[in-house]
Amino acid sequence: MTEYGDRYLVGNQREQVSRFRARVMLAVPLAAILFQVYVPRFLEFLGYLELPLLVTIYFALMRRSQIGGLFIGAFIGLAQDSLSIKQPLGMFGIVKTLVGYFAASVGLRIDVEHSVIRFLLTFFFYFFHQFLYWVLARGLLGRQIPFEIQLTLVLGLLNAVVGVTLFHFLDKLREPA
């Protein structure tokens, strides 16, 4: 990457690191998890929304810290696992840890304030999340579950749309620089 490119994409990294209050960092993921386990009971179609994943992507992108991102992903994933009866602890944890790590790595290099970038990254990480979960489920648990690419792509678009909107809302919760 050239010096001009770095400046265009990253800008001043120190100035773009977003900070959040601790209660925001705690409440938002919990709310996302609660939404996923509670709302689909009444509105089943909302079960396709991966709000914990969207929150993980957002915090990892905005904090631009790989370690922070992987811990956020691990925390949200383990919490999500703990609320899933048939899900062994660690499956979503591993997947979201990797998503958080790579999202933070991406956030270190490109400007993630732009909505199009956010849309593309959300779409990509949703697909990556679902594919990695499928691989782990087959590899570690021996579950012969199908991987429906078309459905995953469609849901990726849906989650990306929702994610861009959610990210815009979460931007309001950032601490002012």
């Binding site: 370690i67 992987l70 383990l78 602890l89 499956m91 840890t97 990797l98 570690l140 648990l141």
Partner: protein
Amino acid sequence: METLLNRYRNITVLLLVIFAQLVLIAVQVRNDQDVRMVRVWSITAITPLARVLEAVRGGTSGFFQNYILMHDARADNRRLQADLDRLKMENQFLKTEISTADRAKALVAFQQRTQSRTIAARVIAAGAGASSRVVFVDRGSGSGVEKGMAVVTPDGIVGKVIAAYPTASEVMLVTDPEFAAGVVSQKNRVVGTLKGQGQSTCKVDYVPSEEKVEVGEAFFTSGDDRIFPKGFPVGVVRVVRASSPYQEVLVEPSGLDRGLEAVLIVLEGVHQAIPEVAPANAPIYLGTPPPPASGEQAVQPAGPVGTDADRLLEKYRQIGAAENHKFGEGAPGTKPPDFNIKVPPAGAGADAATPGRGDAANPATVQLPAKPSSPAPPPRGQ
């Protein structure tokens, strides 16, 4: 080191977190055989390493054993070769022993079978000189051996005693040029004189050219020389050349065929018959069947039948005749004849009048070969 850790801190933390969650999964999850995944993964991860290690260890061990430690193989090879040589020698020795035992056995059998009084002797030395056809045996005058006695083996004549010492005797072999003995051919009874030639073959002198002697024909002692009793094998004709006035007949002595180790010295010879040559169309003798077992009804064939099947057929025929039953007639299901009734044996009342089995009148028997003539009276003294 610290710089290295700082440089890879993020990826290290990531790997640690992932690893921790993997352990978490492994501890919780059981497979379909109710085995924890941590055990499955551990074994799955360990066994390939163990297999590799074992392969390396086995390969290394095999390499050392097969190549580095070859001196053991060489030592083993030398030892095994030595064992093989020793066993070969032992095998040869045992073969010789068996051969000697066979000869001794044959000698004893011949000694018991022949009517002549003989004494066994062992060849202990050969005469000096390359052309010597003389051997020494371990029986001498102390054992009753005298000069001029015949020396034979079951295969044929060997020679004659030319000197008897107290503990040994000197024997002139049939191949000695000075040896002579009266012989007669087996087939045409052609009489001649066997003489040694100093070679492996002997010649038969004084065979008139008009006499018929065939190659392969055997010669026996004729008893005319008053040394060898009549009827001992001499040898087989190998060469017959027409000449005048006498034929040239070469005989391979059969007494020396298998070497000389043990011989028989004829103390008192008894003439014996020369065996006849069996003609090619000699009649075949059928032995009489064994006597019937006790309690079994002996059934004699009425006609010229000799096999068990014939006798059984005849028995059934008699049973049918006794019950007025005709075999092969009658619808299926009709009462068969009683095969358990006792019928008188065929010709039972005529046994005294008819010749018994094995008699010449019975076609089941055929004529026997002619018996050899009784041996001539033994010569007394030499």
